[in-house]
């Protein structure tokens, strides 16, 4: 979402971002490899990506709070594999200050 309904963006505070790289332990990697052979959901890696997603999101929120932001708009996720079996998750967006909707809606 690039705007907040009912509020005006009065100040752009910059990029809020949070990232993490996580891995499951080798036992889970072996389990995941075996599931890869037979197909279906690899719950080990579903969990890995979910853990990374939440941690990256929390770090982005913490970064936005540190900047004194009221909201993060234009939020996106990006992922990559940094090493075999380790996922990198990046959450980023624009930290903004908000004001109630009104005529003075100039973005500084």
């Amino acid at each position: 979402m690039d705007s907040v309904p009912g509020r005006n963006i009065v100040k752009v505070l910059g990029l809020a971002r949070g990232n993490t790289v996580r891995a499951r332990h080798v036992g889970r990697d072996i389990g995941a490899f075996l599931k890869n052979l037979v197909g279906g959901e690899i719950v080990e890696y579903t969990k890995l990506l979910a853990e990374s997603r939440e941690q990256a999101l929390d770090r982005m929120i913490a970064d936005a709070r540190e900047r004194g932001a009221d909201a993060v708009v234009g939020m996106r996720f990006a992922t990559s594999e940094i090493a075999s079996g380790a996922s990198e998750f990046l959450a980023y967006g624009t930290a903004v200050k908000l004001a109630p909707e009104g005529p003075s809606d100039t973005v500084r």
């Binding site: 996580r22 959901e41 719950v43 579903t46 969990k47 939440e54």
Partner: protein, 148 residues
């Protein structure tokens, strides 16, 4: 028609259809007229509307999750997994002991033996350090509980 004990009665079915907005105009008016004189029917409708609101908020349970939990309790599945991991552990231990013994017995010069031994020792020590660090930080990692 005699309904089975667990089957909904015609009144309950009508209340469900009304709460879900599935009745046409004539049937809806007829039901509202009946409901005006029947507090029981009105209570049924309120009950189904609350249930509908609750169901809309609750995340659906995936049928696969039920089967995953059943499999986790299944003795055969547990036995297969436990036996597999035990055999893997025995194999790793045998390879480690055998590898060290072969290294000691082989015809390599002493400096090569000591070098290989030092590398193996370093791997074990560094792994132990990484494992120790993980065990110490794990209680402060709130993300380990997330499933999906």
């Amino acid at each position: 028609m005699k309904t089975a004990e667990n089957e909904p009665t015609p009144d309950e079915l009508a209340a469900m259809a009304y709460a879900d907005g599935e009745l046409d105009e004539a049937a809806r008016r007829a039901f509202e007229a009946r409901m005006a004189n029947s507090p029981g029917l009105a209570r049924e409708v309120t009950h189904y509307r609350r249930l509908h609101a609750l169901a809309a908020r609750a995340a659906p349970i995936e049928p696969m999750d039920v089967e995953w939990r059943r499999l986790a309790r299944d003795p055969l599945q547990r036995g297969l997994t436990a036996l597999g991991w035990s055999l893997a552990a025995v194999g790793c231990a045998a390879l480690a002991v055998g590898g060290c013994w072969m290294l000691a017995q082989c015809a390599l010069p002493a400096w090569a033996k000591w070098g290989c031994g030092a590398l193996l020792g370093a791997s074990v020590l560094l792994f132990a350090a990484a494992l120790r660090a993980r065990m110490r930080t794990r209680p402060y990692d709130p993300y380990t509980e997330i499933q999906r």
